[in-house]
Symmetry: C2
Subunit: 406 residues, 2 copies
């Protein structure tokens, strides 16, 4: 399989390191807006670098990306950029006649009048609207295949296929106990993106209501995470699983709750209260007179860059899917999960845990497409496919998943 | 009496409105770095404006300020600027041979090694170091005479003279129930200055230890304020009274606690945790490329200007001095206080309550100096003088004080 990877940031870099160990990969073109970043990612692979080529790309230049796919005879475009670039890359792959895989989905826009009650444009709507074109092309657009969304969706399908007869509720629950040495407060992921995710109206699915939205940080609950992480306060956050799972899995209710913890939630609420979450520029005095800056950029500039914190991070991150329902007439409740210990991922791959956990899943998916274990055409989520091959291959990669009956 | 008022901001403007109603004032020169601001303050006085002249001044230009005092034959310089300008204005008055009055004191600098245990340079140290010069000049430098410090110090002296035989503790306590319509969060005073005050190490006085410092926000207590304000969470904050009161009033312990309330304390702690309180510039992308800005300036720019909020503010502000000790062998505890209702101050003076409450006290003090009721030479705090004339004149101005036995 020949792959065009677009984006050589934290997740993109980890993808190259994971893919370099797998023989299914014939060649990977590593493309980034910053060519030196792509070159650094390839150089870091050492002896394995011969299956990789670094190139420069502008992800917004759809024709340029299509040309790159054709020129390098790629079978698939793997999108490891910011969600802002989903649509041009998705269209570029369609135009080139290749498969496409991403780890998020096209962006949402809140309902203009009732943002905290009704959905406006939902996550993925723009992509699903192009479904017929993809089906006609005979190519596969596999959307939302990171860890969350991604592995969490595979877990949901596995629960529906093998563990339950009827499902009352599916709740994706994400939590960690990662700390960063030497900092009073240092998020292990982009504060800019976290603000974006957490202040968008969270979306919930109920079988009798369809999709609807709530106030930010709604329905707080304390979820007890496995592997020594323990209880963390989780709240509703807008996330792709809520839009994906109900399309292929029957469930009474689907939610996504993020284990931000009390402290982080309070920080986000305070930033919002003071208007510091906004991207609309304010005027302040700079060195040479008045300048206009985005308050959210200033918040990000005051905090350390999470990509460089791997060596100072300690702890584990857990992604998983909690399912409640019945099996053989008996009530059942399970949590299917995947844990990465930062010490392990730094030692084994030189990647911090949060980034590495996202990166492994699209590589597993590419291998399933390469071997033909997963096939199809159209715009499909991870839960559209047989889950067992994915879960078995994940274990084969040395990163097993777990099941907790509760 | 002829007065040079330096600073025509919120407090300076309220001073002109209050002084315009008092016949003791022969003339007031209203000086500001921004001449139009001085002119606006004078024009706002209507028919009373003939006793006022607007001029431009640079408060850091000591020789220029001295020349202005001489040119206009002023008896006193009233400093209504930011505490950064205390020293040049204080020296300018000494050089001109006039009296001097301010509402704060020269700034502190934390102890270089043990900032939260020991004092470094204390508030007012630089001014008291010049005490002999002032005594020799026969002129009075009346320092720290606003509401807090100021009226709070007068209350302390009054308690010592008339209400107690022995004083165990004097605690200045400041609280309010002011809300601002239309804003989720809108401080009624400068967030920039509040950050500065609240993140400096708070200072405490104990008779057997002298002055020492603590961690920010130390010794939280809920103080029940009068006039319907009710209980507010107060914490230790660096403030001039703690440095002034023990110089003239015997007490076992002196503290200042600010009724910031839980919400405000949490906001300040969060800003500090994220590094958003700092004035050291960070680099972010502006409209035309990278620019350097102070995070604290960005925080201030995101919030509404408190000077313009008077019409939207509702509620009361209370300044006062709680005293615990014995009288005639019996334990006694009182709270001496002064409350201003924003609705009243806006209607009567067109000034918001917090600003107006600060402004009335230096005008009362000037009148006491003008009539000879208060006299002396050297660098003196409000508690160096007989308190009763001050308190009676305050009541005569239409803004009575209160005493609560507790």
């Amino acid at each position: 399989m020949r792959v065009l990877l677009v984006g050589a940031g934290g997740v993109g870099g980890a993808i190259t390191k994971i893919a370099a160990r797998r023989p299914f990969l014939d060649h990977m073109v590593v493309a980034d807006y910053d060519l030196t970043r792509a070159e650094r990612a390839v150089a870091a692979l050492g002896a394995a670098a011969d299956r990789f080529t670094a190139v420069r790309v502008d992800a917004t230049d759809q024709a340029g990306v299509t040309a790159l796919l054709t020129e390098h005879r790629c079978d698939v475009l793997l999108n490891a950029t910011d969600p802002r670039f989903v649509m041009p890359l998705f269209e570029a792959a369609l135009a080139a006649g290749t498969h496409y895989l991403d780890m998020a989905m096209s962006l949402s826009r809140p309902h203009p009048e009732r943002p905290h009650q009704e959905c406006g444009v939902k996550l993925g709507d723009e992509q699903f609207a192009r479904g017929e074109k993809w089906t006609q092309s005979g190519r596969l657009a596999l959307v939302g295949l990171g860890v969350e969304p991604g592995l969490s969706d595979v877990f949901a399908r596995y629960a529906a296929d093998d563990l339950f007869d009827e499902i009352e509720e599916i709740g994706v629950r994400d939590g960690a106990n990662i700390t960063v040495d030497g900092y009073d407060f240092a998020p292990s992921f982009s504060i800019w993106t976290t603000i974006e995710e957490c202040l968008n109206p969270p979306v919930v699915y109920e079988s009798d209501r369809g999709w609807f939205t709530t106030e930010p940080f709604s329905e707080p609950e304390v979820f007890d995470f496995p592997a020594g992480i323990g209880p963390v306060e989780c709240v509703n956050v807008e996330h792709e699983e809520v839009l994906l799972i109900p399309r292929w899995v029957k469930a009474g209710r689907v939610t996504f709750k993020y284990g931000l913890g009390n402290e982080f939630i309070e920080v986000l609420k305070t930033l919002h209260k003071l208007g510091l979450d906004t991207t609309a520029p304010v005027t302040v005095n700079g060195d040479g007179g008045p300048v206009r800056v985005s308050p959210r950029d200033v918040v990000a500039a005051c905090l350390p860059d999470p990509a460089g914190l791997g060596d100072r991070m300690r702890g584990k991150t857990c992604a998983g899917t909690w399912v409640k329902g019945t099996k053989d007439g008996q009530p059942r409740e399970v949590y299917l999960y995947h844990v990465v210990d930062n010490e392990w991922s730094m030692r084994e791959y030189g990647s911090q845990a949060v980034v590495w956990q996202t990166a492994i899943n699209p590589v597993v998916a590419l291998e399933l497409v390469a071997t033909g274990a997963w096939s199809g055409s159209g715009v499909l989520g991870p839960e559209a496919f047989a889950p067992r091959p994915f879960l078995d291959l994940l274990t084969d990669y040395g990163s097993p998943w777990g099941l907790r009956e509760q």
